[in-house]
């Protein structure tokens, strides 16, 4: 079943058109990976889904209902949680507080949310020792864990992850992708944006490649890997391979 459908999406920043007519589907229960190089429009697509930027044209359907141009607050209340590029952990709040605030899309007092945040550490044992540390004191990997944990606190049906591996050491990248697999196993649909094609496809049920704001191709991970020309052009580039 299609959970998210993007139809002929056009997004502009003023005069600059960043996404020119993108159409793609995300099926419920799957991990779908959106690949593409710098400036391809991956983050812009996620920002349009979560309501940070209103599309110039086209439609975004979540569970059959249009969410194009809804506010971010409305979108997350409908069950789409966006973990943006750069982690954006609140620097002056503790790890536990950051995670608790992830539930701001639903009701619940501080006591209940605090307990839920504590349970979240079972999935993220690495950050449990830092639960009272302030956000700015964390390493990049720890911040990424906090950002994903915070995103999950919304109990989303669809989780948007923007380059969770960016700038992390290989071991940490492995840990992050193990968590993504676990999130899928627990039944949450994931739309994952990656430049790291090998890792991005390793957890995916389906992949799309975005090029200069247009869909270049889509397919199952092994199909994308199997195509020699595609691999050379989009996936096997020295940069992407070196980052694995």
């Amino acid at each position: 079943m299609t959970l998210l459908a993007i139809k002929d999406l056009i997004v502009r920043y003023g005069e600059i058109e960043a996404v020119h007519g993108l159409t793609l589907d995300v099926d419920e229960g799957q991990v779908v990976t959106l690949l593409g190089s710098n400036g391809a429009g991956k983050s812009t697509t996620l920002r349009a889904i979560s309501g940070l930027i209103a599309p110039a044209a086209g439609d975004i359907l979540f569970d059959g209902k249009s969410i194009a141009a809804h506010s971010p607050e409305a979108v997350v209340r409908m069950g789409i949680s966006h973990v943006p590029e750069g982690r954006r952990v609140f620097p002056g709040l503790s790890v536990r507080e950051n995670i608790m605030l992830g539930a701001s899309n639903r009701s619940g007092g501080a006591g209940v949310l605090g307990r839920e945040a504590d349970e979240m550490f079972e999935l993220f044992p690495d950050i449990r020792p830092f639960r009272d540390a302030l956000g700015w004191t964390l390493s990049g990997g720890q911040q990424q864990m906090v950002a994903v944990a915070r995103g999950l606190m919304a109990k989303p049906r669809l989780l948007l992850l923007d380059e969770p591996s960016l700038g992390l050491a290989p071991v940490i990248v492995q840990a992050v992708f193990r968590i993504i697999s676990e999130i899928r196993r627990r039944g949450t649909t994931v739309l994952l944006v990656e430049q790291n094609a090998r890792m991005g496809l390793s957890v995916a049920d389906y992949g799309y490649v975005l090029e200069s704001g247009r869909l270049a191709l889509g397919g199952k991970p092994d199909e994308l890997w199997g195509n020699e020309a595609i691999r050379a052009a989009y996936l096997g580039g020295g940069q992407a391979a070196a980052r694995v």
Binding site: R77, R88, G92, L101, R150, A154
Partner: protein, 291 residues
């Protein structure tokens, strides 16, 4: 020694007022990244509301106080909707100019309604004060200090120990991220403006019996409070409180031991020294780390 103790008491009392107004500056600055140049006018308007209710209409003091607070909450709301909200996506400069405009408007609207004559607001208590050993504790200064302690404690509890306080902090640290989590950012900023108008108003009401209630009282308090926030390290709550108290004490001692006419000069001398030798303020480093 006795005189020094007496001066210290007075200095803390007046410094507490600066601290309250400085807190208003800091809260709005952290929520919107803009200095609200009308913060002092909040104090002035509240003091005039008190004069209207308690003196002109002869209502009970406590009722006048509640009406003035209600008026300040409303003013904070209108201020947010009229002065900040339409410009929220612009850079800081248009917003600052908008707050300067609002400050001029509030001062001149009050002038038009009430005239240029300074007014007198009686203190809350009948008893002027009590003698404790060598120090005479003026009842109004005692009230100022007590209310400031209560407000600072409340604010600490509210921001550090409630969920809504955490949401307000999150909003002031990263509005876009806060909205992605479902925190109602516009409502959080509304709360910040109302709260700042209320503490600015309370400061004005408390200090009014000590000073005259005049159109200019807002700008003179705001200048001191602004200096206090710079001394404390801009954007730091503890810094604003300590900066305010320090400024009150310095100007009281300066006036007593050096020169009364240059009373206001001491505050700004300290400010200039800080700007030259420690522009980040007392707690500046902590702010830098947070950023």
């Amino acid at each position: 020694m006795d005189i020094a103790l007496q001066l210290l008491f007075t200095g803390i009392g007046i410094g507490a007022v600066y601290a309250l107004v400085a807190l208003g500056f800091v809260l709005i600055f952290r929520a919107t990244n803009v200095v609200n140049f009308a913060q002092g006018e909040f104090s002035m308007v509240a003091a005039f509301l008190m004069v209207v209710c308690a003196v002109d209409l002869e209502l009970p003091y406590w009722l006048s106080f509640l009406i003035a607070l209600g008026g300040m909450a409303l003013l904070g709301m209108i201020f947010n909707l009229g002065v900040y909200y339409p410009l929220r996506h612009r850079s800081f400069l248009p917003v600052i100019i908008s707050t300067i405009g609002a400050s001029i408007f509030l001062a001149n609207a009050t002038l038009a309604l009430y005239g240029p004559q300074p007014q007198v607001l009686p203190g809350w208590f009948e008893t002027p004060g009590i003698q404790v050993g060598p120090v005479y504790l003026d009842s109004q200064y005692l009230l100022i200090i007590a209310v400031t302690i209560v407000l600072v404690a409340f604010q600490y509890w509210f921001f550090e120990h409630t969920l809504i306080g955490k949401k307000l902090q999150a909003t002031s640290q990263d509005k876009e991220m806060a909205s992605l989590l479902g925190i109602p950012v516009a409502r959080m900023i509304m709360i910040t403006f109302i709260y700042s108008a209320l503490i600015g108003g309370i400061a004005g009401i408390l200090v009014a019996p000590v000073l005259f209630v005049s159109i200019q009282m807002g700008s003179s308090i705001a200048l001191k409070a602004f200096a206090a926030t710079i001394i404390g390290g801009f954007g730091d709550v503890a810094g604003a409180i300590i900066g305010g108290l320090a400024l009150g004490i310095i100007e009281t001692f300066g006036a007593a031991y050096i020169s009364v006419p240059y009373k206001d000069g001491f505050a700004f001398l300290v400010l200039v020294l800080f700007l030259i030798f420690r522009p980040q303020g007392i707690f500046g480093e902590r702010v830098a780390e947070k950023a």
